[in-house]
Symmetry: C2
DNA sequence: CCGCCGCTCTCCCTTAAGATAGAGACTGTC
DNA sequence: GACAGTCTCTATCTTAAGGGAGAGCGGCGG
């Protein structure tokens, strides 16, 4: 089953998959909600899932689908190799990860791997996972603050929205700057975006 | 001819196009340089071009292709509907613009329109073009400064890199804030990114 | 039970950022 | 030649941001 918000991409994947004698596309979905409903109806061997979709994003779909079927075989697909979300998906139980600009062969072998319940680890992700271990991770609260910082909010504004004092907002921002190794909030946003911690 | 860095997307478009009795894919390219070389060799009726590609981006390709053949028929394709670059492409002479998440029918009719030398104007772009008229545009120098601001550089740092004084850098930043209707530099980056003025 | 961690708050201090106002030099156009 | 726009620089002032240090409180795991 394919879940992607671009009809073009679905067509491309479908064409590739249906040419294979051992594969067949049984269903397609264009957004997150549809993907969940569709999975439940069709129970496909493998779900190829775009990380960024309207209504409900990939992370939420992975969560829900694994609730429905804990043995679900999910292959995550994304355009951006920086996306932090993939780690969240993989740790939740997605079986594999793939970049959209991967060559045909790699895509097909990834689908085969996942269908046999073998994890598919792209080399780029494996490398990033190692890098990630070394770097300090942000707490949930810090991510909340970071989100607002990225929107250009001031500390005072952030404090008001999160119902904390400006001093506390500053403390969080400071922690963010330290963890992301940035000098200013604007640089922090640049770094966070590059790492896929936030989506603008 | 198709130019896109994702094999999947090329496959999808190729599948769609080749199903049509009046269309045929004669060539494909995976990056900017390849696209130009490929265009020169094949001289296709229509060039479907992704705006964001490795090596040379869509804007540069449009420029070069129109130098080779001023009557070239180019259909721009992009994932992001905010991209400011489309206006640059269209004003340079691209014939049409399309979002990647467009339904099959729209994609095909856009290709047909461009092949007949009719401009294809998506409703979203038309609307944006009007909005854009009302808003002040940034000067080249301001765009240079904005680029550095988006990287998180300080005014002092920006001044050093552009070989101007910090005061001048401030003047430019101030102008950017005014034109983008932002209160802080971080908000300016957020706005600029949303409008597609910069790519992080 | 105690220690670690995350969240909250406080105070002080330094520096950077933004607001305001004015001005000279260089383009190109009408 | 006058004019508009851009880029450059100057100065002063206010406010926001960032650095450093400390401390109380709640949860969670050894």
């Amino acid at each position: 089953m394919l879940a992607d918000d671009h009809p073009v991409v679905r067509d491309g994947l479908a064409a590739m998959v249906n040419q294979q004698p051992d594969m067949e596309v049984v269903a397609e979905a264009g957004d997150g909600d549809e993907a969940i409903a569709c999975y439940e109806r069709n129970r496909p061997d493998v779900l190829v899932l775009d990380l960024r979709m309207p209504k409900r994003d990939g992370v939420a779909v992975v969560q829900r689908v694994l609730e429905i079927n804990p043995k679900a075989r999910i292959l995550i697909m994304t355009t951006y190799d920086g996306d932090e979300d993939i780690f969240q998906c993989l740790s939740q139980g997605a079986k594999g990860y793939l970049l959209k600009d991967a060559p045909r062969q790699e895509i097909l072998s990834a689908i085969r791997a996942v269908s046999e319940d073998r994890p598919y680890t792209s080399t780029t992700v494996a490398a990033k996972a190692l890098q990630r271990m070394a770097k300090p991770s942000l707490t949930q609260r810090e991510l909340d603050v970071l989100q607002l910082v990225a929107q250009g909010r001031s500390n005072k504004d952030i404090a008001r929205r999160l119902s904390i004092t400006e001093g506390t907002a500053k403390t969080h921002v400071k922690a963010i700057l330290t963890k992301l190794d940035a000098i200013s909030r604007t640089e922090a946003v640049a770094v966070a975006h590059k790492r896929g911690l936030i989506h603008l």
